[in-house]
Symmetry: C2
Subunit: 331 residues, 2 copies
């Protein structure tokens, strides 16, 4: 990989997380499947919020969390995502830039408000997400800045973008621009229901335009319509240069051609909120990758970052991950 002005460019839905602790009964009463991500309209957003308890607001969004994580490791990160020019949009931009993430996407001056995801955290730390996309609907190919994509060693995108045709086009354009500059592309499959909705076109993209795929166990099984993790692992090995498969407390498996690396999870005293675990895993992995570290070392950085983010409320690191990784001997 050639030297690059940006290590990782992340593209995703710019969302402010509205996080509240709830009992299992709340999730059931609203007809939600625990652990899922649901897209909701404004009316549903309002009724859910009215029934939710006191919440905290934290900038989130899957790829946004990854960008913040890469920056926290000391990497050069950039972000494309759409907010509105409202108070939550100002907060979102502040939180990105204050981490050192380059974030120049122009805020929408009309249309829906900055996106929110109502995140219900049940007692065991599991999260159920209900996302109102709001201003994210304005992210289009016009927001894909060719210079920035060309400058980035890796362009990383969240599968959630696939839910809107305009964002999907933006996503494909970015992948094309990245490869034109001999850079690498990467996606996370985001959510098993998201895979369910877009299985064929995800597979097509992975086979033809993506170098590194991130997926958790249920996502990769869904992609290949199999109940066997090993079956899915063997399938992705043929379809993609590098696949990083995360398995919560069971660690992860990285496959690259004939290579297979299984790594343990990093121990956590208490799981408080799993939101952002996958996003931060990707941040650690990609940071190591852009530093030309061996794949197992990349995975260890990912596991470390994931362990930090699940030990507190919110999907962004509360400590400087670079110092944290140095303290435990990973950097």
């Amino acid at each position: 990989m050639s030297q690059s002005p940006i290590d990782v460019l992340c593209i995703g839905n710019a969302i402010v997380d509205v996080i509240a602790r709830v009992e299992d009964s709340f999730v059931a009463r609203h007809g939600l499947v625990k652990g899922s991500m649901n897209l909701i309209d404004e009316a549903r957003a309002e009724s859910l919020y009215a029934d939710m308890g006191q919440a905290i607001e934290v900038s989130g969004g899957s790829a946004g969390n990854t960008a913040a994580g890469v920056a926290s490791f000391g990497g050069k990160a950039a972000y494309f995502g759409k907010v509105k020019a409202d108070q939550l949009g100002v907060i979102y931009r502040h939180d990105m830039r204050s981490q050192g993430v380059k974030f120049e996407s122009i805020a929408a001056t009309e249309g829906p408000a900055t996106a929110r995801s109502f995140i219900l955290v049940t007692p065991e730390g599991e999260r159920t997400m209900n996302t109102y996309l709001g201003a994210c609907v304005n992210l289009t190919t016009a927001d894909i800045d060719e210079q920035t994509v060309g400058d980035a060693a890796v362009t990383y995108m969240e599968g959630y973008l696939w839910d809107r045709p305009e964002a999907k086009e933006a996503f494909k354009l970015a992948a094309k621009m990245s490869h034109a500059q001999k850079r690498r592309t990467s996606i996370t499959l985001s959510d098993s229901f998201c895979v369910e909705r877009h299985r064929d076109s995800f597979l097509d993209l992975i086979r033809n335009g993506i170098d590194i795929v991130f997926a958790n166990e249920s996502e990769i099984k869904s992609l290949y319509k199999t109940q066997s993790f090993d079956g899915a692992l063997q399938a992705i090995r043929k379809d993609c240069a590098i696949a990083v498969l995360t398995r919560s407390e069971h660690g992860c498996v990285v496959v690259k051609g004939d290579e297979t690396h299984a790594l343990p999870a990093f121990p956590v005293a208490k799981v408080v909120d799993v939101t952002g675990a996958g996003d931060l895993f990707a941040a650690g992995f990609l940071f190591g990758f852009t530093r030309q570290m061996p794949l197992p070392a990349c995975a260890q950085l990912g596991a470390l970052a994931a362990s930090e983010v699940i030990s507190h409320i919110g999907a962004r690191p509360e400590v400087k991950l670079n110092a944290h990784a140095r303290a435990v001997g990973l950097l």
Copy 2:
């Protein structure tokens, strides 16, 4: 005390806390005194925010935290405070009502935005506050609903209100209305610098219109311009029916006429963020007080609530305090 439809009515500045962890050097670089509360204008708010790291947003405001705490104990709480009709104002109202706090103050439709306090949390858990009052400047006597004040067993106000003449008038009016219905009035001195600014008129108010005073060690010493905690304690004994003096990890002293009750602090595994400690102490104490509990028992509830809120980021309880108090045998 007669039966009342509301246990505690809290009146204060309705503020959204914007909380970030910083190093000591950040506080020094901005010329701030650690542990202080500073009133800042919009320009200063913007420059401070631009230099701050990624933050979380949580509804706060001293008396607002107390109202949320009273409700969390299962008490009937109400709140008077001014937000603007903007996104942060909607969040603030949601967070109040979702706790069961009655909050009917009308949102301002023009003028400055909903207030924010930029709270810098240094590594040991101390907090330095920088408050932009924004829409709070619109709280006036017009917001003091006589019916609600008359319905409340205790009307509790934050000393911070004293910083604006219009709010001070609102404060005095509420005290008068409360006593007209044979209800009790209470204030917190809020901050030693606040006491410094308003010493004489605070003393006048305490001697003539307040039944229960809450103060920490530096506030009560400032009130009586003394270095001696015991000297201040003996002085307040003569000036007010009940004084509740909190001393961080050294517990508290409650004085009422000739009675003196010293109670220990509740042990905390790790102090994460002291924001809200005093506010939640007041919530616990006042909840017990409106339940006719003995003063030492009221203080223990206060200590318990304070211990909960300093064990995490943010100034509102993360657990139901009623259940928490039952679990440790205090209710």
